[in-house]
Symmetry: C2
Subunit: 501 residues, 2 copies
Amino acid sequence: MTRISCPVLSKKITTAAQAAEHISPGDNVGMSGFTGCGYPKEVPGALAERMKSAHSAGEEFTIGLLTGASTAQELDGVLAEAEGVHLRAPFNTDPSMRRAINSGDVEYIDTHLSHLAQQVWFGYFGKLDGAVVEVAAVLPNGLLVPGSSVGNNKTWLDQADKVILEVNEWHPREYEGFHDVYYGTKLPPHRNPIQILEPTQRIGDPYLRVDPDKVVAVVRTNAPDRDNSFSPVDDKSHAMAEYLIDFLRHEVSAGRMPKNLLPIQSGIGNVANAVLEGLKESEFEHLHSYTEVIQDNLLGLLDSGKLDSISATAFSLSRPVAEHFNANAESYKGRILLRTQEMSNHPEIVRRLGIIAINGMVEADIYGHVNSTHITGSKMMNGIGGSGDFARNAFLNFFVSPSTAKDGSISSIVPMASHVDHTEHDVHVLVTEQGIADLRGTSPVTRAKRIIDNCAHPDYRERLHDYLDRAIAESPNAAHTPHILSEALSWHTRFLEDGHM
Amino acid sequence: MTRISCPVLSKKITTAAQAAEHISPGDNVGMSGFTGCGYPKEVPGALAERMKSAHSAGEEFTIGLLTGASTAQELDGVLAEAEGVHLRAPFNTDPSMRRAINSGDVEYIDTHLSHLAQQVWFGYFGKLDGAVVEVAAVLPNGLLVPGSSVGNNKTWLDQADKVILEVNEWHPREYEGFHDVYYGTKLPPHRNPIQILEPTQRIGDPYLRVDPDKVVAVVRTNAPDRDNSFSPVDDKSHAMAEYLIDFLRHEVSAGRMPKNLLPIQSGIGNVANAVLEGLKESEFEHLHSYTEVIQDNLLGLLDSGKLDSISATAFSLSRPVAEHFNANAESYKGRILLRTQEMSNHPEIVRRLGIIAINGMVEADIYGHVNSTHITGSKMMNGIGGSGDFARNAFLNFFVSPSTAKDGSISSIVPMASHVDHTEHDVHVLVTEQGIADLRGTSPVTRAKRIIDNCAHPDYRERLHDYLDRAIAESPNAAHTPHILSEALSWHTRFLEDGHM
């Protein structure tokens, strides 16, 4: 059965190459895609070819590229390699795009994931010229069945002058009914409360809308999402997961949390994966997840019966698990809801529901400032993603990282973070394979002692204490957050010079 | 007419000294007070005397002290001078308390103002043993008419085991009807949307409630709030206000904002004062304010007819203006609403209403990270206050500061902020008397150029450009946020060593 049953839109079916002709140099283009899922598979490649031809002819051809979050080689990769992007927001994990960002060729704007859609609507980025959005099907009335991510697609379709649709038959047709697209968003002063009271409560439509007059091309594809595999849970991740789950047990027994916890948000990565695996083995039941992304072990937790439901904005599955899901999609309906990232990450909802937020970090300093984005202060890793949306407004947040990196040459606990994405005001609990530090209701110096003793690697602990002690001694009248500024970043400069902190 | 007409509570009228007997060493005590208004005037002094006696007798006597925000000499001052506080949260401006914080004697927990009430309810601080709350009157049925600030009083009265009331006859009896105390707050997972759709919409009660059985003492006082005077608007503040108001004009003409703007939040300080004065002279009409604090010029803007209404959590008036207000309170009723700080600063409301947030800063770095709290990274000034609540969720935020301090020896624009309270992800516009830098939708390096060219003082501009240029040159593969870490904080260390950046 055809996936494009709208008579108006089916007349616009064309090739990726023809579709890409609608994108012009200098355009701002919103593309679908979130954590390697639901990104357009063919038009970006065709666009990259146009760009390379233009560059060969001595012509400029770059675009401003806005997405949901990370995409894949077929989008960020090909456009970065074609030197076709002058501006990029928000989150990125593609290595070619990362190189272009760090060479200074791409202006990268690292936005909170809940902020970008409204910022485009507010006009921060000027006009949105185009949108390239992957969907699973086009209904007879022109409504769109979203695919494996919703991301910012609602806003791109609303705001763009021209729309290109990719209809990807790899996505199960049964995606119809999995999505909740809230069309009640407005610009201030006309906004209303968002009436989400439970993680998987519906407040919107199962479909994306598009003005058919704006659709300039529809491209049929049949291509899988990126294979979002993780390495198996290692000892360190397992240890961190154990600390974290024990901490949750402790919170329940202290009466600070219900027995089935509160809705869980887990970022992407090995530790989140280990936590989800640990919860599967735990005594906890009737859990809920209100998160950005559904990775293998979150789906596994649902399969296990421990987790009742998931609200997210995207999948991010390994190929085998994605194929399993696609073959059995119908059986998940009603237990999984995919929303726009504006809603999945919305401060209003995160605070109301009382989310437990679990996110990775690059480093933390002894006073509890967290760096989620920059290697030695300058080099962009991926971006802040949704960690700020969730951590600031969470009931309880965890930042997790192994205590060392690069075979012990880097300590994840440093005297001063080389870049701050989450301030001391927003960080509740730090976790490494060494232990866990509860920072709630503590002052900077108390935090420092806990973080050093509980989280730092023993190889670095003594030197961190030494820094703290000397900083206190040298700051008799400035001992709130005692620093020796001439030394505060010396661990990073030592690493840059000698390869070891 | 008596202010204490409840037969049950009037039996508990006593002296401040007797009331203070109910507070024990080690107690956690929530006290009223926000920006120098509505704090208890007598019990803290009596408590300080008890503490001094205990200390003379070789006994320990300190408390954990939680307030709304800053109080005054009669509260923070006397308790700090008595060495009677071991823990303090959130915002403080009292010089004695600041000294105690910076000497390391007081553990200071610098919390977002919208977070503290829920954190106490969540159990971050353990049990709340006592509350000392100033009100304007006690009704026959035991309901309390709040005074010049609401702050966290609702939560202190709810959570504390023992309650001491101060009924201050200096506050106008006409305060009845000025407040909106929302009793719909719940712990997750039982929270509901907060139905504030307009700045001065009522969603709660005009009264505070207290379980009369918990009230251990009622103390009658008649004492004015702190005199919250500002120096007259100087040239620099005037220049900053002009830039800011012109920027608002530009946003309106670009169609990004309604003609009557959006609700304004203005922090405390000379620049906020100048902005409010500037708005009074401007063409803008039918303005609204959704803010923490009502200072002289905000009331003046209301008097001028330019501002239709104010929602806040406290007053912070100079003595003459406070006396004028007190004498004419009835005429302001319906145009001013005082809420709990949990509501005035709530992310849900701030984002929904689309606040224009205007806050001061200590320094910003070239990439747009803002330090609101720490002098040279270590020494606590006042605290983050509500700036994080508002800035993160604002439709548009401004951070303002003169470009230099201490006669030019300090640049407010530095290579790297010595402490970060607002990250690059959250800062929209910087303003100094040199000009204004619009950072929305820009990458770090673009931001740096704008901030240096528009906001830095000419005496420092060339050196900032030199730092940026060399950082870019030295970071070919890490040029997203180029830093020379060995130099990044050298401006601060130079100031500490030589007294000049």
